[in-house]
Amino acid sequence: MKRFKGFIKKEFYHIFRDRRSLFILFGMPIAQILLFGFAITNEINNVDIAVLDHSKDATTEEIINKISDSKYFSVKQMVDREADIASVFKKGEVKAVLNFEKDFSKNLMKDHKATVQIITDATDPNTANTISNYLNAILQKYQKELNKDITIAYQIVPQTRMVYNPELKSVYMFVPGVMTIILMLVSAMMTSISITREKELGTMEILLVSPLKPIQVIIGKVFPYIFLSIINAVVIVLLSIFIFKMPVQGSLFLLGLESILFIISALALGILISTISATQQTAMMISLMGLMLPVILLSGFIFPITSMPLPLQMISNIIPAKWFIIIIKGIMLKGVGLQYIWKETLILLGMTVFFIALSVKKYKIRLE
């Protein structure tokens, strides 16, 4: 036990004296969560638009006011001629232009029909799509207000309700994903690097020619990273609660336990990687290519698994991150308990046991 303690102490010295790894350990989660939370979002805020108003009557003015009152848009400028629209877009000052036809109000009263054209800058198709949806929604709402007093039979108004993320806040979707990536990265990559470092520097040779048992070396190596990963998980959850006001619906205790389970499975993968790589660089490449890419692409974090081709869907099943994302989305967003996610937990547990067994078996007690 004393040996083991001495070993862990040494590991902590390594971690705290290596500024770069320390930066990766603690800077990365914060940077990633902020990046994903703020920069890479699917929602729009304060988008600049321009208006070309051919009629300039009470109705169009009211619509324009409604649009600029919303937090999604701000009317940056008024355009006078159709010909100017192109130049406004080219300057990149606005993302969309609203073009009201002539006699808008009159047409609406007389024919019950008036046209407004929404022109969006589709160089970024996703944003353009979102903008046009939002503008449509505002127009629909206004139209409904107008029709309030008139009863028209059989009017079908489609109504969509979003559950769990009613505001469609993308940060809610990203937090579980980012947490998975960070835990995977810190746990698997850092352990595999720290074990291969001993191989590269030749200290592994001395550790082997010592009474330390393989299991002591392995646990001694991973223990500090379990500890650090838990801190990371806590930091991520705190950031998402306090900065992004993301509610955690389920039990924090369960979330913690599931996170530890996932951390251990990632650590076991890290050990496995270290047994097949001789240098730190190889270990890093294998961790990045072999773990990070599948986690990002196949775990359902960014691309929905259901829309993948069947072979990829099958592959996604062997990725622990997929199950972990299902679990933490369940706990964080839906607030479910273990009775709803026991199947995923069991799969993750099975994988973890398998990886640990394999890595202990593959750990070499000699040099070859």
Binding site: K9, T203, I206, L207, L208, S210, P211, R366
Partner: protein, 300 residues
């Protein structure tokens, strides 16, 4: 026997690193493994320290079999690999403490064993190991290998890359350790260090050329060696090699070690020959053989 090796052979994919090696090291002996780079010294060390398994043959260290009893060996030997293998980001004291702890002991418990070495590096005990000079590193590595009072000590090229003064100090320390009944197997590519061992094994291309005490090995060299010197070293070597009766020609410091194939050799004849090659300031003197000469002769 402290170390007993019988018929050990080891090959990597195609290269034969060790071929049928057998020798014994007595308890308390300072045994040297002398040979050039790539001779198989490190491979033999790794077989004996249970890091590699030999393809053929068997060996025991401190009475334990290197394959079956590898755990017992790992408790009882100290190993200092050829490459500096301590934690560079840990301080001198932290390194020593770490190795004491993993062997289940403390610095205090075996301090008298390392005292003489440790006092020399103690002033730098808060310095990171990576920032030490070559000689200091080796002293620290030796302390770390000794801290658990091993029965057998394996030192793989401990003085490679170390300055001459530190090298001498290092060997003095080995001599003192020997008096504390620690068996030491040390390898080195330096022939001058061989003379400091009790017995040496000359090894090349994975084969043992000879095993004996350094004195006996030198004595076994029967040919008379001449120190030859002239104004132009390069021309001298080439000329000597052209001389029809030459047996061996090796540069040796400022001289060339020369042996003749005839028993009735007259240095004057050689001098005349060399003068005909337009060399001047020629000097030919008898000298005694060194281990290096023996090695070169055996390796021929």
């Amino acid at each position: 026997m402290s170390i007993s090796i019988s018929n050990i052979s080891k090959s990597y994919k195609k290269a034969k690193a060790l071929q049928d090696i057998s020798f014994d090291v007595k308890p308390g002996e300072l045994f040297g493994l002398i040979g050039p780079d790539g001779a198989g010294k490190t491979t033999l060390f790794r077989v004996l320290t249970t890091l590699l398994i030999a393809n053929e043959g068997n060996a025991t260290v401190a009475g334990f079999d290197v394959v079956d009893d590898y755990k017992s060996i790992r408790k009882n030997v100290g190993y200092m690999p050829g490459k500096f293998s301590l934690y560079q980001d840990l301080t001198v004291e932290e390194n020593l403490k770490f190795f004491a702890t993993i062997f289940g002991t403390t610095i205090e418990e075996n301090y008298d064993l390392i005292k003489e070495i440790y006092v020399q590096i103690e002033p730098f005990k808060d310095r990171r190991a990576g920032k030490l000079s070559g000689g200091m590193k080796q002293k620290l590595a030796l302390c770390c290998a000794l801290i658990h009072k091993p029965k057998v000590l394996f030192l793989d090229e401990p003085t490679t890359g170390v300055d001459p003064v530190s090298r001498k100090e290092f060997w003095d320390m080995l001599k003192r350790l020997q008096q504390k009944h620690i068996t030491i197997l040390v390898s080195t590519p330096y022939m001058d260090e061989a003379a400091l061992c009790d017995r040496i094994a000359l090894i090349q291309d994975g084969k043992i050329l000879e095993i004996d005490s350094p004195e006996a090995i030198v004595k076994n060299y029967t040919k008379q060696i001449y120190n030859v010197r002239a104004n132009n070293m390069y021309l001298l070597i080439n000329s000597l090699k052209e001389y029809e009766y030459n047996h061996s020609v090796y540069p040796f410091g400022e001289f060339v070690h020369y042996t003749n194939s005839r028993t009735d050799f007259n240095p004057e004849n050689l001098k005349v020959f060399l003068e005909s090659k337009s060399l001047i300031d020629i000097e030919i003197k008898k000298t005694v053989a060194t281990i290096e000469d023996t090695f070169m002769e055996l390796a021929k």
